[in-house]
């Protein structure tokens, strides 16, 4: 490939020209300017890199970090109609064990004396769970792939003023129309609600379709019920769900 070439047969005095353009001070200035420019470029690049890293880190924190979740397991309730086991909020739908049977009428006898002042209908409230929980050892917990919430939660949620106070409240506040009661003059309802980490009540739901007005009333009763102590998990307050089976029964005319 040919080169485009201009042949010179004569050149000016190159030494003179070189001396004319030789300027060491200008070289020093250019060198200093170039260093400043490089430093600015490096600063911009490192700032950009820091922003990228911070964004990546925040994204990882927000999207990538998954808190440890325990698998909710519902323990068997006793025939007397004790409240269902508390479940972790995110896993509340996964129930491995059967729902407890309806509370028996005999549970009425266990009601606190104050509740004996009944009106037309009696309310049988779910009982406190028996305190014979099986506490697995840590080894068993590790070995068993399905660790129950019961075992993880070191303390269940409970009303601040105690169950007695809760019963009194519910008894006082809940009134059901006769039309809702069945042939046996009873209505069984399962009311599920969430007890927040600060003891606040929310997400009240029912296992049956109720008239809108009544459902609204019941929901309000539960949301406004006396405060609860939140469940404890390894010393920390956690959200939990309570499932309260309640049997509404028409009071006998005997009393």
């Amino acid at each position: 490939m040919k080169t485009s070439l201009k042949i010179l047969h004569k050149v000016p005095d190159l030494e003179e020209l070189a001396a004319k353009h030789q300027n060491f001070d200008a070289l020093m200035d250019a060198h200093a300017d170039e260093n400043i420019r490089k430093r600015k470029k490096l600063y911009k690049a490192s700032s950009f890199a820091m922003v990228i890293l911070a964004t990546a880190f925040l994204s990882w924190l927000y999207w990538g970090y998954e808190p440890q979740l325990t698998e909710p397991v519902e323990s068997q309730l006793e025939m007397s109609g004790q409240p269902k086991e508390q479940m972790i909020p995110a896993e509340k739908k996964e129930q491995e064990k059967e729902v407890s049977p309806l509370p028996e009428p005999m549970a009425k006898e266990r009601l606190e004396p104050a509740e004996k002042e009944v009106t037309e209908r009696e309310t049988v409230v779910a009982r406190q769970k028996p305190e014979n929980k099986e506490k697995k050892s840590e080894e068993e917990e590790i070995a068993s792939p399905q660790v129950t919430i019961k075992e993880k939660i070191t303390a269940d949620a409970e009303p601040v003023d105690g169950l007695e106070s809760l019963y009194r409240y519910l008894y006082k506040e809940i009134e059901l129309p006769d039309s809702l009661l069945g042939a046996d003059s009873r209505l069984f309802l399962e009311i599920e609600f969430m007890i927040g980490a600060e003891g606040e009540i929310s997400e009240v739901s029912f296992n049956k379709e109720l008239p809108v007005v009544l459902e609204k009333k019941l929901r309000k009763v539960f949301v406004e019920m006396p405060a609860w102590k939140p469940a404890l998990e390894k010393g920390e307050c956690v959200e939990s769900y309570m499932n309260l089976p309640i049997t509404f029964q028409k009071k006998s005319d005997k009393q």
């Binding site: 490939m1 040919k2 080169t3 485009s4 070439l5 201009k6 042949i7 010179l8 047969h9 050149v11 000016p12 190159l14 030494e15 020209l17 070189a18 001396a19 353009h21 030789q22 300027n23 060491f24 200008a26 070289l27 020093m28 250019a30 060198h31 170039e34």
Partner: protein, 200 residues
Amino acid sequence: MSLSETEYRYLGLQEEKEVERAKKDPKAFKPLYERYYGKIYGFLFKRVNDEQITADLASQTFLNALLNLKKYEFRGLSFAAWLYRIAVNLSTDYFRQTKRSRALYLDPDKTSDLFLEMVDEGEDEAEDLLHELKLPMVLKALSQKELELIELRFFEEMSFKEIAFVVNLTEGNARTKTHRILRKMKMLIESNENKSQDIA
């Protein structure tokens, strides 16, 4: 530019110290700058044939050298070889970007050396003269790389070791390529002469 081995050794030691000092303090670059500025300017002018552009390229050569001084390692060659390497690359980039024709100054003293490499012994003076006149034509027929080797060897009087460093070849490769180019140039002259004779 070719120096004897002793001169190389001495100059190399002196320059090595100057370079080490300049690495720490840019102001210590001044002796190197003053020693080689004229040479680099002259080399570039003979390629570019423009006073101001040559000054810009020369300044850029020394600026690049100063900015990259920490990468320089003494390899038994004078500091000028490194400056030439930078200058060759800068001028090549300049021609590529501007698409201007490069120039070549046929210094009469240097041209005769080149010519002597090409002619055979026993050729008479008339033929020698013919060859010399045809030299520009033959040089134009060379590629950019080939011309560069001829320029550095015969017009800048560099050793093969220095040429190898400037154009990034091994010394043996630089030597072999240069001889091949000379043979090619001779063949081009002779073939051209044959064509002229045929026409005549």
